[in-house]
């Protein structure tokens, strides 16, 4: 069932012609619940954040791993607005576009989210009202938000006594994995930068070789050196493409999952808060019962009636909250398993893609040098 859903709705995000325009979200689908087979709408960046906001507060989605939206980068966006037409702002736009696209793809991959009316509205509706309450997301960023909530949970006075260690163990796993990914991401970041440096140095070297070739008075050697300069130029191109690969396939994958793991932690926190609410309700109920007992002693019949009503009310709440807690526990377990499956598939897919890009790069490298070899042999 999971497989068919993957292909039944394919969202894509296109960057507009002018940087001042809004990105376009296009989707193609075969699902009957949508009006058309393909449809495109214009969406602001804040709309994407708004979608997350809407989903994150729904009680029906409590315990679910809701994909976090891309980070809002103040500096990058300012550069684009100023109208700077340099490669770094083009790169920034591409980075954002790809991130928005991955975000939507993850959202529609989730069976519950796909059914969600807000998601459908986002994909289909012509005009969306401006999203509000996105400060938490755009300002401090997603992970800071999660961590703040986590701290609040950890400060609670009553500690849960887990009969089933699954939750504790799993949370620890998630936390340690997040640490490892952070470390890996830092190294991949370093790789991207070093490769960009290599790009620059190779280009400079190629020019220098060309100059040397011009100076060389032996004709055959001169030609060979010029050819070498051309090969190095091609190498620069290869390095450039590989750096893009390093970044868009590898680094961004890691960055996404660091935040996704944050979202997973968020689910565990939600479960904790559900438990807290249940415990607090139980203690409130206890207090109400004690109050009732006091009133019985004091013999105040009308107040007693009210007390009895309150007890009934809180007994219902306790039952409700206990049920909520159990339900959220079940959801979290299911979600974590689903997430882990997705993650394994995602990682495998991306790593294969990355290795394939490296493979192609090496094959092209072979062609370049094989073409150069006869030139070198021709030197006399």
């Amino acid at each position: 069932a999971q497989e068919t859903q993957l292909f039944s709705l394919v969202p894509a995000v296109r960057n507009p012609q002018k940087s001042s325009d809004l990105p376009v979200s296009s989707s193609s689908t075969s699902l009957p619940m949508f009006r058309n087979k393909t449809f495109s709408v214009r969406r602001r960046f804040s709309d994407f954040l708004g979608l997350y906001e809407k989903m994150s507060v729904k009680s029906s989605l409590h315990g679910c791993v809701i994909p976090p939206p891309p980070e809002k980068s103040v500096m990058g966006m300012t550069k684009v607005k100023v109208g700077k037409d340099d490669p770094s702002s083009a790169e920034f736009l591409e980075r954002r576009r790809a991130a928005l696209e991955r975000y939507l793809q993850r959202v529609v991959c989730h069976p519950l989210l796909l059914q969600d009316p807000d998601v459908r509205e986002f994909l289909e509706k012509e005009e969306l009202p401006r999203a509000v309450n996105t400060q938490a997301l755009s300002g401090a960023g997603f992970l800071k938000m999660i961590n703040k909530a986590s701290d609040a949970v950890n400060k609670m006075t009553i500690k849960m006594n887990e009969s089933d260690t699954w939750f504790e163990d799993k949370l620890q796993e998630v936390e340690s994995e997040e640490q490892q990914l952070r470390k890996l991401h830092a190294v991949v970041d370093s790789l991207v930068n070093h490769r960009k440096e290599l790009c620059g140095n190779t280009a400079v070297f190629a020019k220098s070789m060309a100059m040397l070739g011009n100076s060389e008075d032996n004709t055959a050697l001169s030609r060979a050196l010029s050819q070498l300069a051309e090969v190095e130029d091609k190498m620069e191109q290869l390095h450039q493409e590989q750096a893009a690969s390093d970044f868009f396939i590898f680094a961004e994958l890691l960055a996404d999952y660091i935040r996704l793991l944050g979202a997973v932690r968020g689910c565990f926190d939600q479960r904790m808060r559900a438990w807290q609410r249940w415990q607090e309700a139980q203690s409130t109920l206890q207090k109400k019962r004690e109050a009732e007992a006091k009133l019985l002693w004091a013999n105040k019949p009308d107040k007693l009636q009210q007390a009895k009503e309150e007890i009934t009310e809180w007994e219902a709440k306790v039952t409700q909250y206990e049920r909520d807690f159990d339900r959220i526990g079940v959801t979290v377990r299911k979600e974590v398993l689903r997430f882990e499956e997705e993650k394994a598939k995602d990682f495998k897919g991306q790593i294969v893609k990355y290795l394939e890009s490296m493979l192609q790069s090496q094959q092209r490298l072979i062609k370049f040098w094989e073409a150069f070899l006869p030139e070198a042999k021709a030197i006399a």
Partner: protein, 382 residues
Amino acid sequence: MTSALDESDKEKTRSVSVDLNNDASLLIDIPDALCERDKVKFTVHTKTTLSAFQKPEFSVPRQHEDFIWLHDTLVETEDYAGLIIPPAPPKPDFESPREKMHKLGEGEATMTKEEYNKMKQELEAEYLAVFKKTVQVHEIFLQRLSSHAILSKDRNFQIFLEYDQDLSVRRKNAKEMFGGFFKNMVKTADEVIISGIKEVDDFFEQEKTFLLDYYSKIKDSTAKAEKMTRSHKNVADDYIHISATLNTLSADDSTKVEGRVASDQELKLTELLRYYMRDIQAAKDLLYRRARALADYEHSNKALDKARLKSKDVPQAEEHQQQCLQKFDKLSESGKRELTSFKGRRVVAFRKNLIEMAELEIKHAKNNVTLLQGCIDLLKSN
């Protein structure tokens, strides 16, 4: 003493010069070397049929400073003014791997055992590469001398090869070293002068133009090649960290591919460029000496004219003029020979090096392709 590396191995590593060490009458090699802290002790091994030497085969220990002494004495020998003196081998420089080893030691706590071991292995390989390179460069220096018709007969060269005591007594003391340094400084200033001297010979005019231009270009290329090689090494190091961390995550452990690619081939090209930059400097020095001789000759002419005018000390002036002319002619003749053979040598060396480099690139890339394909297949089949 038996040779530790076999000939074919050495042929492969020797990429900057060809056709050396072919004359059986005098064969020199450096079969091994020892690294003690900062000092490298080379074992210089000689096999000869020449009667000038006491024994047919012998070995002596030598330090880098001994090579410098030999080079400098040759440069200062008046008789060799018309020759291109092979450039002195550079001082062994273990600074880079040593610094990295130090940094690695400091960062040991932050990485896994496996990562640390991999990095250590890489550093040890780098250390070994520097070591091999310095041995090679010292060896080539000696072999250039032994292959040269005139220089191979130099008395100091023979002492260097044969004298089984410590050479430090004969080496420069601090004062002399200062003198050498000062001489170098003056030379640079004179360079400005010699470019101004009117050249009488077309061959030398062309050579001067060519060498000055080529020198600046090759110096630039050497620096850029070094930068590029270092960048590539950084990328390779990153891959080691990545593969180590991926191992910990047990997601994948196949990204070791780019590790070895960097060092070998680009290092070769950088080394070639660096060697010929120094060689061209040596050729330039020859031109300088000749220009000096020309300047001296012109001065002696002027002095002779003056003497004739005053009718004073004419015979001395005449003799001095004759000497200058002779010296200049001798320099020009041998200089022409040297520069022509230098040209040929350079072209041949470049050819060999470029071919080897291209072949290595292809070989490594093919290895990578196989490795990558293997990983992809493995992942897809799971």
